[in-house]
């Protein structure tokens, strides 16, 4: 856990809706919170170096790009195998997120989550098969949950 000071938080709040589309976006954000452009960029760089910011990017909306089949694939992997399994799955280029989460027995035995995105059902099945192949015997069972409706989606919110 990283502690943000008041200026970091102000910077996060000022940028969480996105950077302004102007030639000098960091200067515009800095001016809005009363710091210099150089300080704003230095603070963002520090948050990037510390890992708090994973990337600064133009974040594509998979759905708008035609990826209508967004599957949360969930795998039952023994605790002792989770590091090997997670590393193998995370290395697949089409997996956008790969997390270990706690299982809740008996209803939810799955401990490894990997998100896949496809344009049609057949491609989605193919990707699930590729994940299964990467896991081999490490998987003791799995389910794939497709999102049928996006009810709410916003970026990080700090207030």
């Amino acid at each position: 856990m990283i502690d943000f000071d008041a200026v970091d938080r102000a910077l996060i709040v000022a940028t969480q809706e996105g950077l302004p589309l102007v030639p000098q976006p960091y200067a515009a954000v800095a001016e809005a919170i009363g710091i210099s452009a150089a300080e704003a960029m230095a603070r963002l760089r520090r948050m990037q170096d510390s890992g708090a910011i994973r990337r600064i990017a133009a974040v594509p909306n998979h759905y708008a790009l035609g990826y209508r089949f967004n599957g949360m694939t969930c795998w039952d992997v023994a605790d002792g195998d989770i590091a090997a399994a997670g590393t193998a799955v995370a290395a697949l280029p089409f997996v956008s997120h790969c997390y270990q989460r706690p299982r809740h027995l008996p209803d939810w035995p799955y401990s490894l989550f990997a998100m896949i995105h496809a344009k049609d059902a057949e491609s989605a099945e193919g990707l699930v098969a590729e994940v299964a192949a990467a896991l081999g015997d490490l998987s003791r069972g799995h389910v794939v949950l497709f999102s049928t409706r996006i009810l709410k989606k916003t970026g990080l919110r700090l207030s």
């Binding site: 856990m1 990283i2 940028t15 969480q16 996105g18 950077l19 589309l21 102007v22 030639p23 000098q24 960091y26 200067a27 760089r45 948050m47 890992g51 708090a52 910011i53 994973r54 990337r55 600064i56 990017a57 133009a58 974040v59 594509p60 909306n61 708008a64 790009l65 035609g66 949360m72 989770i82 799955v89 995370a90 089409f94 997996v95 956008s96 997120h97 790969c98 997390y99 270990q100 989460r101 706690p102 809740h104 209803d107 939810w108 995105h117 949950l145 497709f146 999102s147 049928t148 409706r149 996006i150 009810l151 709410k152 989606k153 916003t154 970026g155 990080l156 919110r157 700090l158 207030s159």
Partner: protein, 152 residues
């Protein structure tokens, strides 16, 4: 749906991972793609308006600022709208998806600390009478959140 040309595709391919952290990032992108800065700004505005880009900015690593968890509920079909509305109304809930499983409502709760996350979860359970499964992140295996776009 918006038709994306080669410039749009290259902007997305190149900058869904890392936007240059320099004074004039769009000028740097323009140089890499071989067009003017004004073209890049216009394209990004168009892609944002069309919803192809959801946001241009920092992607925060989960758990690094504040606390968050993934929560799941098994909601009877006839109560889905009502329960989804209760869940989505919380400002601490930033993603809420309906999924095709007995556990059909999946959402992320993010707040300043663990106590606030737990309080929201308890309140949702009390208000709806439905159990809320708590699935916090234990380990993040992924390094780069970028995603291989298949254009064809």
């Amino acid at each position: 749906m918006l038709v994306l040309d080669d410039i749009d595709r290259r902007l997305l391919d190149l900058y869904q991972r890392d936007l240059p952290l320099v004074a004039r990032p769009f000028a740097a992108m323009a140089e890499a793609v071989g067009v003017g800065e004004d073209i890049v700004l216009a394209r990004l505005a168009r892609l944002s308006e069309a919803g192809v880009i959801s946001r241009i900015g920092a992607v925060f690593r989960p758990h690094r600022c504040g606390h968050s968890t993934l929560a799941a509920m098994a909601v009877p079909a006839e109560r889905l709208e009502e329960v989804a509305a209760v869940v989505s109304a919380y400002p601490q809930v930033n993603h809420n998806y309906q999924r095709d499983h007995t556990l059909n409502l999946w959402f992320v709760i993010a707040a300043a600390d663990a106590a606030e996350v737990a309080a929201v979860m308890t309140e949702i359970k009390d208000r709806t009478g439905i159990a809320v499964l708590d699935l916090p992140l234990i380990e993040d295996f992924h390094i780069d959140l970028g995603f291989d776009i298949r254009w064809s």
